[in-house]
């Protein structure tokens, strides 16, 4: 959508900019909380360990770190009862995939119980706060209201079926609920858990280059650099310098990927010239071993300025921190201070997980600002959500090229489009999961996941929870996570054994 807007030179109305910011904003908050509690926490929290906790001591612990009201001994006793019933029924359900009792779990029983209680609370919380996304985007996680030129979410203070004063006040309510939970539950939990795993501040760092396209536009220009979370590229962990982003520096080769380029698989192409012709040359599944000296991945080798580059909340927070973003700097320094570590701790598995929490907090704090911007426009009588000047293809040039930057919750995402004779001649997407799970390139540089796993200590090769911790810290989508646990996890053990 932004790629087409860029190709055709479309400026969106201010309300569309705000609505897009709000949808992205609430998506960051809900997505990150779910990631932390429901996908990542169990790498650090032993659910079965919660059974050994003393509810009174758990209550005391919870009350030291936060004034969140659900913290009585009775409350934690009830949660413990639920977990016990679940363990005894033999149907662990959501908890079924854990490595319970693994020696790498370090939390005391009380911290385990507290985290499990909040795991359950977060389940309830997420379905309420996401209603904001549903009001504006119609469906989560795949909003239906975005379209080239703006949004399809009507604004009309005199209609029941459009954004009106009632919607604004409901959204302010959801935003408050979102912020409260993040401030009083997520951040205190993150700090409490991280305190027991400080060694992870020097594990899982990876490739040392970080990219953010910038998000939450402050003006309506296509791919503006005027964003609340800034765009930038950080090279080799040098926080003293943030380079401006140039989409032309993004390239892909397929030396180790199951695709065929019409000229040379090793020659990196910019996405406008990109090709995606599948060419599977691997063994017939199911297989035990993948030969990584040959093509071994369905992901192309995505590079920025020729370098393997990490994307996601850590990249965004590093770029914001190094650019002097006031609020990000305050929260990053607060978290580092509480954990008693320096900024270099950010380049790690723990840093990645902390950065996601930091981003959630600062984004949740911004939600009311955007809602109020929208309310102010409505008050002025500005109800426009869509610019239809270029809706009719007869208004298009014979040939046009565009790119569209977006920072999805999981990281930098860009689409490139080539339009010829009013038709799409080429369309390439380079997505966050691709950046982070990219394989080696023609020069032999390892991808982001690959590099981050080098040197990970593993207590039990048959239960590589340590690998899960690092891979999960990138927040690959569930589908990817499962795939990776099976294949890459085993492969790493082979690498280490050499």
């Amino acid at each position: 959508m932004r790629a087409v807007e860029n190709a055709l030179g479309i400026t969106i109305p201010d309300n569309a900019r705000i609505l897009r910011n709000l949808i992205s904003g609430i998506q960051y908050v809900q997505d990150h909380v779910i990631h932390f509690y429901h996908l990542h926490a169990l790498d650090w929290v032993d659910v079965t360990g919660a059974l050994k906790a003393d509810p009174a001591k758990t209550s005391a612990l919870a009350q030291t770190i936060s004034d969140w009201p659900n913290s009585s001994p009775t409350y934690f006793k009830a949660v413990q009862g639920k977990v016990k019933a679940l363990v005894e029924s033999g149907q662990l359900g959501i908890f079924a995939n854990g490595y319970w009792g693994h020696s790498a779990y370090k939390l005391p029983p009380e911290a385990n119980l507290m985290a499990v209680a909040h795991y359950l609370e977060a389940l309830e919380w997420q379905k309420d706060v996401i209603r904001m996304q549903v009001l504006l985007g119609a469906k989560n996680p795949h909003p239906q209201t975005f379209l080239v030129g703006g949004m399809a979410t009507p604004i009309d203070p005199n209609s029941q079926n459009a954004i009106n004063a009632g919607t604004i006040s409901a959204m302010l309510g959801y935003a408050k609920k979102a912020q409260d939970f993040v401030e009083k539950v997520y951040i205190p939990d993150l700090l409490a858990v991280a305190g027991f795993y400080k060694e992870w501040a020097s594990i899982g760092g990876g490739v040392a280059n970080y990219l953010s396209y910038g998000e939450f536009q402050k003006d309506t220009k296509s791919n503006t650099t005027n964003c609340w979370l800034p765009a930038g590229f950080i090279r080799n962990r040098d926080l003293s310098k943030v380079e401006p982003v140039d989409h032309k520096k993004v390239t892909e080769d397929v030396a180790y990927a199951w695709y065929k380029y019409s000229d040379d698989d090793k020659k990196a192409k910019h996405p406008w010239d990109g090709e995606s012709t599948p060419n599977y040359t691997g063994p017939k599944p199911p297989y035990e071993f993948l030969d990584t000296t040959k093509k071994y991945s369905w992901v192309k080798a995505i590079r920025y300025d020729g370098l393997s580059t990490e994307v996601g909340p850590l990249s965004r927070m590093l770029v914001a921190y190094a650019s002097g973003h006031k609020r990000v700097k305050e929260v990053v320094d607060m978290v580092l201070g509480k954990l008693g570590v320096g900024p270099s701790a950010l380049f790690s598995t723990l840093g990645r997980t902390a950065a996601r929490g930091i981003e959630t907090l600062v984004t949740a704090e911004m939600l009311p600002t955007w809602i109020n911007e929208l309310a102010a426009n409505i008050k002025k009588g500005d109800l426009k959500v869509h610019n239809g000047d270029k809706w009719d293809p007869s208004t298009w040039p014979a040939e046009a090229k565009g790119y569209g930057f977006h920072e999805a919750p999981r990281g930098a995402l860009c689409h490139w489009v080539v339009i010829k004779d009013k038709k799409v001649a080429n369309y390439q997407c380079v997505v966050p999961g691709g950046w982070n799970s990219t394989p080696r390139d023609a020069k032999g540089q390892r991808g982001v996941f690959e590099e981050s796993l080098i040197g990970t200590p593993i207590a039990d090769p048959h239960k590589p929870i340590e690998i899960l911790r690092t891979i999960h810290s990138f927040d690959p989508c569930m589908a990817c996570a499962i795939h990776i646990v099976d294949s890459e996890g085993k492969e790493l053990i082979k690498v280490r054994a050499k």
Partner: protein, 162 residues
């Protein structure tokens, strides 16, 4: 009486989308009294949670790996569901068993859950279902309608079977 009929699956992946195709067909061709909620659950995971809460009956249509021949149909009820589909066939099954266990620990499990499943043949990037699954399409619809009648809905056919 609060009933939810939900089709799960990814219509871009061949037989995987059978659940969604079935509920879409039912939605177009039937009317129900009392009315019920019909939902295309797609491949959503935890986002489906609030649709399941506070329901008396939930009827799910989905592709299920029964480890049987393609086209094999079976009905799983309540506690049979999470344990029987533990061998995960596709991503969204994690979603389904996640939702069911989340409902359980939150104490919000619907009174009755019925999963009408069919063994898929091909899960690949295609909009078409295989003929072996397509041949049993009407049978699946009949099973769903019977289930809804059992629950107490009057099912009125608006337009004839394909």
């Amino acid at each position: 009486m609060k009933t939810l009929l939900v089709g799960l699956g990814n219509i871009l992946m061949g037989d995987e989308g059978i659940g969604v195709h079935v509920i879409n067909d039912i939605k177009q061709r039937y009317s129900f009294e009392p009315p019920l909620e019909i939902l295309d659950g797609g491949t959503l995971g935890l986002d489906l949670l609030h649709f399941f809460e506070e329901k008396d009956d939930v009827v799910i249509v989905d592709a299920v790996n029964f480890k049987r021949e393609p086209g094999y149909i079976d009905i799983l009820r309540d506690d049979e569901i999470p344990s029987k589909i533990n061998a995960k066939l596709t991503v969204h099954h994690i979603g389904l068993s996640d939702i069911l266990s989340a409902l359980k620990i939150l104490g919000k499990t619907p009174k009755k859950i019925t999963l009408i499943g069919i063994q898929p043949e091909i899960l690949d990037m295609t909009l078409d279902m295989t003929s072996v699954v397509k041949e049993r399409f009407n049978e699946l619809i009949e099973l769903v309608i019977n289930e809804l009648k059992e629950i107490g809905h009057k099912c009125v056919l608006l337009s004839p079977q394909k």
